[in-house]
């Protein structure tokens, strides 16, 4: 339906009708040919000769035109009442267009033309309709028509200038029409006619029987033009007599209200004005205002503007007093307003109206404003309700006419020929300055024009028009708004749609998108109402019901059993698309991108993964960053609901889903819970239906990026392969692995870049074994999001992984574990996941590892967005989200970088070992301190691969603390050594690698024995079995053997309990003096074996060579233990006495001192001067001690002698009455300087004795029984003999110093100090004698100190000797 032109009042309407079997394209071609003739100059119209009919004929040489407008439909029957009120709305001519190739088909064409005319039921109209049928020849048919077929005009295909011919024919038709005007006018001019005219607000001509007969006979004689035989519709009325034609007319009126004939008398008195005024011309009872107005209308149509203007003025003068004629008044004003425009068009210049101070159109506008106001207040008080729609229609038309004037002037940049052209022949899309309109025709024949939002005129362009013309957009809009009101409901659907369409188009062209959207909603409502109602009425049988889909079998459908089988009708979808376009436009105006979820044709799924990456990032940014909301949430949701309702009603199920999901996606932050749930369910339902119906379209994945993180679960420890370089294998065979235990895995570098890099190394997976990936998915919605499938998206090696359906709970982050299996070794890249919503398409979401740079870019971008939040640079529709983004994007050029993804290394198949059984119960071992037991593990190879490499390492709870202490480095050298010794030589677990089989065939078992040593402080330990399949079989020789191999580790944790039962403390070493030797050998003389053993133990040949080792052993445990100390001496001459043991039973809670004589030790200078070794190969051992060299020397001596001591003396224990035994460590005992002195063999041994010379024969002085004291006689000279033996390995020059205590009671001869001993070779001895007399009774102590002169350190003596003499004899 074309919008009415401004000048439609001056348009003669002609209906173009296809006749016969004409192809559409042919019809369109000829119709457009006819349509191109928009006006016919008055001079071209053949004048009618007869006087009556010549009334409206143009005067000769008249300038001006008859304007034609072409229609394809007759007006609605409901408007017939307007026939006299507005003749221009009704077709006055009818042109059939036929095409013919054979002469014999002409009768058929004539017949079908007649029936078509009859179908149009134009004979109901008040005006006679002139008819003609143009038959266009095809293919040189050469038809000879003659006069056989009145009403048909054949246009030969040979004819060169068809245009001229057609316009001539049309001019003839116009002439006919003008002639008919006279006829009608004549009947109205009669008094009776005038009465009819005034009978009601919208009068109609009475039925034919009541018309004066005088008109009738003329009708058949009108055919004066042979080529244009007029075919009048009136013969139907006139010839068929009264009875038949009256009945339908009467019955029609009866149905709607009181019939005309009875009401005539009733209505006449209600018009008092007309009753009073006596007719001066024709003697009718009523005023002639209406008559004049009709006359003026007809003159306007006939192109005689001067006459028209006169009669309009006359009519208006008469209408002014009459309250009942307001609408007639308004119509007259409208007509009057039309005239200047048409005249201006004819003259073709804008300067016709010279008034400068006033715009030329102002006068017209005033008239139209007045007309609108008059229509607005016209009251159909006593009329029946049919007039409401008509009044509303006239009112709307008037407003639109008014607006279109303003609009045309505005859009044509002023009052000029362009504007006139628009006003008179607006064309099909009048409201678009540029040709960016997209129009389509829906099933109702309604052309919908949607202004493309993106290409619409800019503000500046629109404003420029305003500046040029002086008409503001607001002005136009205000005028246009008047059309909108409740009265729209009065209108019939067609008119309403037409008006709304026009209004929307104008608003759109004005750039008032919101108002356009408002009106479009109403338009949609109207159209959808028709669709819905039409469907309800038509049932299932309507063949061409647009948009009907499957529906349950209707009751009336006899062909199917009711309710069981769905009937699928063939839906026509042409109109749907444009309905949806309107909806999308409305939604976009309100800031809802209802197409944010795309519809995709299933058939056309191509590779879509290319561009996704950028989209993802984009999307993520959008998601993350806070955004200013746009729009009115309440309205948005309302509009979305409507959109969905429309799509459902059409029905277009994929669109329903698209709309629901798009709005969910973009609006869910402002949506209420119930709305979200509702939309989700609607979408789900719609998709199901769409799939069931075999719709080719479906939605893409919509729910935003679901994946938040992805993570490969590392394999369980027993399955995790550890990569080792193959070169390690060669080394491993001869290395004990001690180092690693001692120091831990210690990195010599403080900062190791390789280590950092290796921190995020790819995780290792094993071929043909399952791995697990944990994905964290997010659901931002308030409903449980159902995913039809969730699959891993990988590249690289082939994997077997199954997609699975999953439901993400509402509003949560949900971790999902997916399993997969790599089918081949290599590198596996996990890109992300592929998700698919039910009924939708799968979509891949990738999750790249973000590099630092990328992260930075992103954060910068985010902060850019954040800084824009809250600031409104763009307001209104400019701030719609997608506009904002596009503006920002243009400034930022993002560099594309190759994305990195999570990568895993898939290694070849690995064997698998498991612990079949162990000798432990509950993996716990209980030990006494120092005890050693054996743990036996049975391993089983459960894989199909051979294990040809087994290595066992251990860990226990004592290692880590010790390593830590060592690492801290705060220990003294000595302590460090102790700790290291403890770690290396006394490990908790040991394994003899050589003895065990290192090959386990598939399915075989192997056992491993591990020794476990009880060490106090150890609470737990672990046995790690590393194994591998190294000597693989390679399929091809070309394959390069890998330089790495993979081991797997099996760990067996052991709980260790160590009881601390024996404690050693206060170790001491004292000189073995003669008296002790005597005491221990003599005081007990029992003959028990223990006693004998004791005696044997203490029986040493030379006391001076020995010293006594003693230690306290305390039993803190609950049961007695036998403690054995053993001395073992190497490289000694007397092997018999070298190996001796002493065994003591230590009862619970008691302390026993163990004494053991041991031979003195002498270590060479080189040995003792060695620094205390470190057992590890630690580099950079900085000596932290700040000891003097002497102190250091002493410390080293202590260390080495202690080591030597522990080699010599070893302790063991045995459970009394039990089987368990173990060793007893002395390592905790410290050695002191005196102990060292006692232990060390002197450099020079001093043997002192007292001798008495009798007759030159040396006699030893008496010695007491223990041999420790000399008993010299008093006051008598005895010789004190000092024998010095050089025991050192080097020559010594010795000097002896003697001391006698108390010196005052002795007399001696010679010197006591500095007695020279001379140079003594090793082993050589020297004796010197000193005569001494003891002068009193008592005890005398003689001590000797030997100093060496040729050694560097002369301060300390190299040997000491002492002697005790007791003088007892009484002095008499």
């Amino acid at each position: 339906m074309d919008p009415p032109a401004f000048a439609s009042l001056a348009h003669v309407r002609i209906i173009l009708l296809p006749v016969g079997n004409i192809r559409r394209s042919t019809f369109d071609q000829w119709a457009s040919e006819v349509r191109s003739i928009e006006s016919i100059p008055l001079g071209d119209i053949p004048a009618e000769s007869k006087d009556e009919r010549a009334r409206f004929m143009p005067s000769p040489l008249a300038s001006g035109h008859v304007h034609l407008s072409y229609q394809s439909h007759p007006p609605a029957a409901a408007h017939n009442a307007l026939a006299l009120f507005r003749p221009s709305d009704f077709p006055l001519g009818l042109v059939g267009i036929a095409s013919c190739s054979h002469a014999d088909s002409l009768p058929t064409i004539q017949a079908s033309f007649k029936s078509a005319v009859k179908d149009m039921s134009l004979h109901k109209a008040a005006f006679p309709v002139s008819q003609n049928c143009f038959v266009f020849e095809e293919h040189d048919a050469n038809l000879d028509l003659g006069d056989k077929f009145p009403g048909l005009v054949v246009i030969p295909s040979m004819m060169a200038n068809k245009h001229v011919h057609i316009s001539t024919l049309l001019a003839g038709l116009c002439s006919h029409i003008l002639g008919d005007f006279a006829t009608v006018m004549q009947s109205l001019e009669s008094p009776l006619g005038n009465e009819y005219l005034n009978a009601s607000l919208f009068p109609s001509l009475p039925s034919a029987s009541e018309m004066p007969r005088s008109l009738d006979p003329e009708i058949p004689q009108r055919d004066s033009l042979p080529p244009l035989p007029s075919y009048n519709s009136q013969p139907d009325l006139s010839t068929n007599g009264s009875a038949r034609s009256k009945t339908p007319a009467a019955s029609k009126r009866m149905s709607t209200g009181p019939g005309l004939v009875p009401s005539r008398t009733a209505s006449l008195p209600t018009t008092p004005v007309t009753a009073k005024k006596r007719p001066n011309l024709l003697g009718a009872a009523s005023s002639h205002g209406r008559l004049f107005k009709v006359l003026a209308d007809l003159f306007l149509l006939a192109g005689r503007h001067a006459d028209s203007q006169i009669w309009y003025s006359e009519a208006i003068a008469l209408f002014k007093g009459s309250p009942h004629d307001t609408s007639w008044h308004a119509a007259a004003l409208e007509g009057l307003a039309t005239i200047p425009v048409i005249e201006a068009w004819s003259s073709g210049s804008a300067t016709a109206n010279g008034a400068d101070e006033k715009e030329p159109w102002q006068d017209i506008v005033d008239k139209l404003t007045q007309a609108t106001a008059l229509y607005h207040k016209s009251t159909p008080n006593s009329e029946h309700e049919r007039t409401y729609p008509l009044l509303a229609y006239l009112y709307s038309q008037s407003v639109i006419r008014h607006t279109s004037l303003l609009f045309a002037v505005w859009s044509a940049k002023g009052w000029g020929p362009h504007a006139f052209g628009k006003l008179i022949q607006p064309g099909t899309t009048p409201y678009l300055p540029s040709s960016t309109a997209s129009s389509s025709t829906d099933h109702n024949g309604v052309t919908i024009t949607v202004v493309n939002g993106r290409t619409k005129a800019s503000y500046a362009e629109l404003e420029r028009l305003t500046t040029i013309t002086g008409i503001t957009r607001t002005q136009i809009a205000t005028t246009l708004s008047q059309v909108h009101g409740p009265w729209l409901l009065h209108l019939a659907a067609r008119e309403r749609i037409g008006i709304l369409q026009t209004v929307a188009g104008m608003f759109g062209a004005l750039g008032y998108l919101r108002k356009e959207a408002y009106i479009l909603r109403e338009l949609l409502g109207s159209i959808m109402d028709l669709i819905v109602c039409g469907r309800e009425e038509s049932g299932g049988a309507r063949p061409n019901g647009a948009g009907l889909g499957i529906r349950g079998a209707p009751v009336g459908n006899a062909s199917t059993t009711a309710g069981t089988v769905g009937v699928r009708e063939n839906p026509r979808l042409e109109g749907n698309e444009s309905m949806l376009r309107i909806i999308k436009h409305i939604c976009r105006v309100h800031g809802v991108d209802i197409e944010s979820v795309k519809l995709v044709d299933i058939g056309a799924i191509a590779a879509t993964s290319n561009g996704d990456a950028a989209d993802d990032a984009e999307e993520e940014d959008l998601d993350d960053s806070p955004q200013d909301p746009f729009g009115w949430p309440e309205l948005q949701i309302g509009i979305i609901r409507e959109a969905i309702a429309v799509a459902e009603a059409l029905p277009d199920y994929p669109s329903v889903a698209q709309f629901s999901l798009s709005s969910l996606k973009s609006l869910h932050p402002v949506m209420s819970h119930s709305d979200q749930v509702h939309l989700y369910h609607t979408a789900t339902r719609a998709l199901t239906t769409a799939i069931r119906r075999g719709d080719r379209r479906t939605v893409e994945y919509w729910a935003g990026k679901p994946i938040v993180s992805i993570e490969v679960l590392s394999l369980p420890l027993i399955r995790l392969p550890i990569e080792k370089p193959l070169s390690l294998l060669a080394k491993a065979n001869d290395q004990s692995g001690v180092d690693t235990i001692l120091t831990g895995v210690k990195d010599p570098f403080l900062y190791n870049p390789r280590k950092v890099a290796s921190g995020q190394t790819q995780s290792i997976l094993v071929q043909n074994e399952r791995f697990e990936v944990v994905m964290t998915l997010r659901n931002p919605f308030v409903f449980d999001l159902q995913l039809e499938s969730l699959a891993l998206s990988t590249s690289g090696v082939r994997i077997e992984s199954e997609a699975m359906p999953i439901t993400i709970p509402a509003n949560t982050y949900h971790p999902v574990t997916m399993t997969g299996k790599a089918a081949e070794p290599g590198t596996l890249t996990i890109r992300g996941c592929v998700v698919q919503a039910p009924g939708g398409l799968p979509r891949e979401y990738i999750l790249p590892l973000s590099t630092e740079e990328e992260e930075e870019t992103r954060s910068r971008r985010r902060s850019a967005i954040e800084s824009e939040v809250g600031r409104a640079k763009y307001a209104g529709l400019e701030s719609r989200p997608w506009k904002r983004m596009s503006k920002r994007d243009s400034k930022q050029v993002s560099k594309k970088q190759p994305l990195r993804f999570l990568e895993c290394k898939v290694v070849p198949e690995q064997p698998l070992l498991r612990i079949r059984r162990t000798s432990l119960t509950h993996a716990a071992v209980m030990l006494y301190n120092g005890e050693t037991s054996t743990i036996r593990l049975t391993l089983e190879n459960v894989s199909s691969l051979t294990i040809d490499f087994v290595r066992i390492t251990f860990d226990d709870s004592t290692i880590a603390p010790a390593q830590q202490i060592l690492a801290e480095g705060e220990l003294s050298v000595f302590e460090t050594y102790e700790t290291e010794y403890d770690l290396i030589h006394r490990p908790v677990f040991t394994w003899d690698a050589g003895r065990e089989a290192s090959r386990v065939d598939p399915g075989e078992k192997a056992s491993v024995a591990v020794k476990c040593f009880g060490k106090v402080g150890c609470t737990s330990g672990a046995i790690h079995v590393s194994y591998a399949y190294i000597n693989r079989h390679h399929e091809t020789l070309k394959e390069k053997p890998p330089d790495v191999f993979h081991t797997r580790q099996l760990s067996y944790p052991v709980v260790v309990t160590v009881y601390h039962m024996l404690e050693c403390h206060s170790m001491d070493i004292s000189p073995y003096s003669r008296i002790t030797a005597f005491a221990s050998t003599t005081e007990e003389d029992d003959d028990s074996p223990a006693g004998k053993a004791r005696r044997a133990l203490f029986d040493v040949e030379d006391v001076a060579d020995w010293c006594l080792f003693s230690v306290d052993v305390r039993n803190t445990y609950g049961s007695p233990f036998e403690v054995t100390f053993e001395r073992r001496m190497h490289n000694h001459r007397a092997m018999t006495t070298a190996h001796m043991t002493t065994t003591v039973l230590v009862p619970p809670g008691s302390t026993t001192r163990i004494v053991l004589p041991i031979r003195k030790i002498l270590l060479t200078e080189e040995q003792t001067s060695k620094p205390i070794p470190t057992l590890s190969d630690r580099q950079f051992v900085v000596v932290k001690s700040n000891l003097s060299s002497a102190e250091e020397k002493a410390q080293r001596e202590l260390f080495w002698y202690r080591e030597e001591l522990f080699k010599t003396v070893q302790g063991r224990w045995r459970e009394t009455g039990g089987m368990r035994s173990g060793e007893l460590s002395l390592r905790q005992q410290r050695m002191t300087q005196p102990m060292l002195e006692a232990l060390r063999t002197e450099t020079a041994r001093v043997q002192m004795s007292l001798v008495r010379y009798e007759d030159e024969v040396a006699m030893p002085v008496d010695v007491d029984p223990s041999g420790s004291k000399y008993l010299p006689p008093p006051n008598e000279f005895v010789y004190m003999r000092t024998k010095v033996t050089n025991l050192a390995p080097a020559e010594l020059v010795l000097v002896a110093n003697l001391a006698l205590e108390p010196a005052q009671h002795t007399i001696y001869q010679g010197v006591l100090t500095g007695i020279p001993m001379g140079r003594l070779a090793p082993g050589e001895s020297y004796e010197t004698e000193l005569p001494v007399a003891f002068l009193s009774r008592g005890r005398f102590d003689v001590s000797a100190e030997i100093r060496a002169l040729n050694v560097s350190d002369t301060t300390s003596p190299v040997g000491r000797g002492d002697l005790r003499a007791v003088v007892e004899a009484d002095f008499s």
Partner: protein
């Protein structure tokens, strides 16, 4: 007689809305005779949309209730009023771009509503739908609301897009509406 006030952010999001029923007697607005005697022509849901949007419901309701104060009730009408307020932004935007006035009196008319607007320098738009002319009162009202709004904006945590939920603001706006409208 009712008034509807909307405070719209630069991105057209309502931050505050108020419906005020004035105690003043409704002026006898000249309703067109065309608006009466409306047919109930269809019962489909879409017809309801049309009826509401064209303003027919309020007209018929007015007919029934005889111009009483409780004219605007159901959600549908509320929606329509919001639509009208939103649609009037087209005109407001245009006028604001050309004139630098803050108070735009009777800037738009739609159905039975007259729309007055007030645009702050920060591009906040106060839109008031009213039926009767009351220019001075509306101007004063707008100025008071502006003052209140500025006080709200003094809050450093309040952006141009934060909905105003302060009960104090609400109470004061209501008081102001009572005073002037």
């Amino acid at each position: 007689m009712s008034h509807h006030l909307y405070l719209l952010s630069p991105s057209d999001t309502p931050l505050y809305s108020l419906t005020h029923y004035s105690s003043k007697p409704a002026q006898t607005t000249t309703t067109s005779p065309l608006a009466s005697n409306l047919p109930s022509w269809s019962t489909s849901a879409f017809a309801g949309t049309l009826t509401a949007l064209s303003g027919a419901t309020s007209a018929t309701q007015a007919h029934h209730v005889q111009g009483g104060t409780v004219r605007i009730g159901g959600g549908q009408d509320r929606h329509v009023i919001q639509m009208i307020a939103n649609a009037s932004l087209d005109v407001v935007e245009e006028v604001v771009r050309k004139d630098n006035m803050m108070y735009l009196k009777s800037v738009d008319k739609f159905n039975e509503w007259t729309v007055s607007a007030f645009v702050t320098p920060g591009n906040m738009k106060f839109v008031l739908l009213h039926e009767a002319r009351n220019d001075d009162g509306i101007k004063s009202f707008f100025h008071e609301v502006w003052e209140l709004y500025v006080k709200t904006m003094l809050n450093p945590f309040h952006t141009a897009h934060t909905p105003i939920r302060s009960p104090v603001f609400d109470a004061r706006v209501r008081a102001s509406a009572k005073k002037y409208l």
